[in-house]
Amino acid sequence: MADAKNQSATAMASLPKDAFEPAQVDKSEKERIAAPALTFTQDAMRRLRQNKAAIISFWILVVIAVLAFGSFFWSPADPNHQNLTYSYLPPKWGNLNIPGLNGWNNGVDVYKANGIKDGVYFLIGTDGFGRDMLSRLLAGTRVSLIIAIIATFFDLSIGVVYGIISGWRGGRTDIVMQRVIEIISSVPNLVVVILMLLVFKPGLTSIILAIALSGWVTMARLVRAQTLQLKDQEYVLAARTLGESSVKIALKHLVPNLSSTIIIQTMFTIPSAIFFEAFLSYIGIGIPSPQASLGTLLSDAQQNLQTQPYMLVFPAIVIVLLMLAFNLLGDGLRDAFDPRSSH
């Protein structure tokens, strides 16, 4: 502070004449809000956009989903069309001579060896039935995504409603509902799924149903815990003192504030469902053939790992991408919805 005087002296020198006139302070300036008007979600999205990994993940998911669901309308070939003369062809990209993508496998030019016509090539190869792997991969991804999404939808609807009721009602209702959850979750969900699949007819519907039936517990737990916190929030108390009904409170106050928890949990449920289907396929009770799913593609490929490694590579890349993307996006969303994390 020693030089405070000097400072004031220099500052004084250049004072304008009207400096000491009373200022006209704009009244609205006093209550000014500096930040731009953003909704909570917009704010979260803005934070999300800062997270490069999450954004890249998001776009990867979009691309994969568009391709997978787009293949419903257009696909390089019928994913179930067999042509045994094309059996087990490795990937070949036209005449590009990139190792791994030039039609060679285990030191043999497979296309040549099988006398495949020039101009016939498969971008990611074919399986034993001569089916185009790319088409199967697209269709398989689609099936896996459908399983994941529908299963998640059920999971959400059961889990969220259960969680809200349990948390909101509290007391005895909560205790009973929690016991039920406790009992359900002490049965490994794998076992539940398998029992379901044994009892119902195997197939897409059963798998979805089975995953949905066993998967909601985590969601219910999270939602309940969150609801317990929310219900003591003062804004919920305020709604109660205004005479708002429970249903309306749930809809207007709980669900919107649970949404981030729900979204994030979903981001983790989806890959689990995909994974679970893959596992079921491996132990032989997954999607029935000839339909493809990521699980069936991978488990078929695992059998041929040493002879047709390319069959594993591409589905593995897709499942890893999906997993990474969902997980990173989930992480990103979690951070974005958490106001504590500023960046």
């Binding site: 502070m1 405070a4 005087k5 400072q7 004031s8 220099t10 500052a11 004084m12 004072l15 304008p16 009207d18 400096a19 000491f20 006139e21 009373p22 200022a23 302070v25 704009d26 300036e29 006093k30 209550e31 000014r32 500096a34 930040a35 803005r46 934070r47 800062q50 500023s342 960046h343």
Partner: protein, 350 residues
């Protein structure tokens, strides 16, 4: 008096996703040996950031744009991490605001209190624990020897804050920084803790920086006071100078807004508006939009420090030569009267 700590022209920005936050804007102050400096200011005015700088514990996104922080003449901003570790908890110690969260919930308090000793001296665990008992008794934890093995949750809020204080003083630091140490506590416990700090200061002769937003607490504990607003110190002086002869309109506003037990009027004076957003501080004096005495220059140029007395400075254009004399609020008039009684020789400034 010997200056133990000197902060000069400290300027700190934080990088955030939006734009840099200018959290500290050219802050200078000093601390004398054995005295208590109170820093007052409302939430977000930069009190904690300043103190973290002194501790060398700034967040990773902080950027020190300018300034120096001298502890016993040495600039700590130039110290290596190792030197800083040796300094923290030994030369400078800190007490935090919330006693409920500033203790490690999974470690016995004995260990936590003894930790600074173990870190900075070559003392055995046993001896350290013995010393911990002594310090805990000093801060008023009864039966400390028996409670060494207890965990934080087994203590009340007031007791926990005492434990935090024990941790801070166990190495007899030269500077003790208390960052809102009583905000989370009840008035009764707050009074006890303040009393305790004063006692300790006498016993170990440490200099204290006491941060708070409560002027009442300041009046009780401080030798000198610095008032912060929007990342700047806007007034500083001896406690009597600031309370009985305040110069900055913001200080006036604060003093006026607090009803004392004696005052009873129809309306309290309320400083209008809200503190500025440091993302985008207004041009000129940051306080101008809320200042009922704002002059044109306030909206254009930041006021420099004007010296009122040897120890008393304020950054307001009202002190500029040629500035108009304003009609003071009654509460300030009352305070100036007391000032005049105390210093009959000296005419209260303006």
């Amino acid at each position: 008096m010997e200056k133990i700590l000197e902060v000069n022209h400290l300027t700190i920005d934080f990088n955030t996703f939006a734009s840099p936050v200018h959290a500290i804007r050219d802050v200078s102050f000093h601390l004398n040996k054995g005295e208590t400096l109170a820093i007052v200011g409302e939430s977000g005015s930069g009190k904690s950031v300043t103190m973290r700088t002194v501790m060398g514990l700034l967040a990773t996104n902080a950027k020190i744009e300018a300034g120096e922080v001298k502890l016993e003449g040495k600039d700590i901003l130039k110290k290596s991490e190792k030197e800083l570790n040796a300094m923290r908890g030994n030369d400078v110690a800190m007490i935090f605001q919330d006693p409920m969260t500033s203790l490690d919930p999974t470690m016995t308090i004995g260990k936590q209190v003894a930790e600074p000793l173990r870190l900075h001296t070559k003392i055995s665990q046993k001896a350290a624990l013995k010393e911990a008992v002594r310090v805990l008794e000093l801060v008023g934890i009864h039966d400390a020897a028996r409670r060494l093995k207890d965990y934080p949750h087994q203590f009340s809020g007031g007791q926990r804050q005492r434990i935090v204080i024990a941790i801070a003083i166990i190495n007899h630091p030269k500077v003790l920084i208390a960052d809102e140490p009583t905000t989370a506590l009840d008035v009764t416990i707050q009074a006890q803790i303040i009393h305790l700090l004063q006692e300790i200061q006498h016993k170990i002769d440490t200099a204290i920086i006491f941060i708070t937003h409560d002027l009442g607490v300041v009046a009780g504990i401080a030798d000198r006071v610095a008032v912060m607003y929007a990342g700047k110190i806007i007034e500083s002086g001896d406690v009597d100078e600031v309370f009985y002869n305040p110069q900055h309109p913001y200080t006036w506003g604060l003093l006026e807004a607090m009803p004392t037990l004696e005052t009873k009027r129809d309306r309290l004076y309320a400083i209008p508006g809200t503190p500025p957003d440091l993302l985008d501080p207004p041009k000129g004096d940051a306080f101008a939009p809320r200042n009922r005495y704002a002059m044109k220059i306030d909206t254009e140029q930041e006021p420099p420090f004007f010296q009122v007395s040897k120890t008393h400075f304020a950054a307001t254009w009202l002190l500029a030569p040629g500035a108009p004399t304003v009609e003071l609020p009654p509460e300030i008039v009352r305070r100036r009267k007391i000032w005049a009684q105390k210093h009959p020789s000296q005419e209260a400034a303006k």
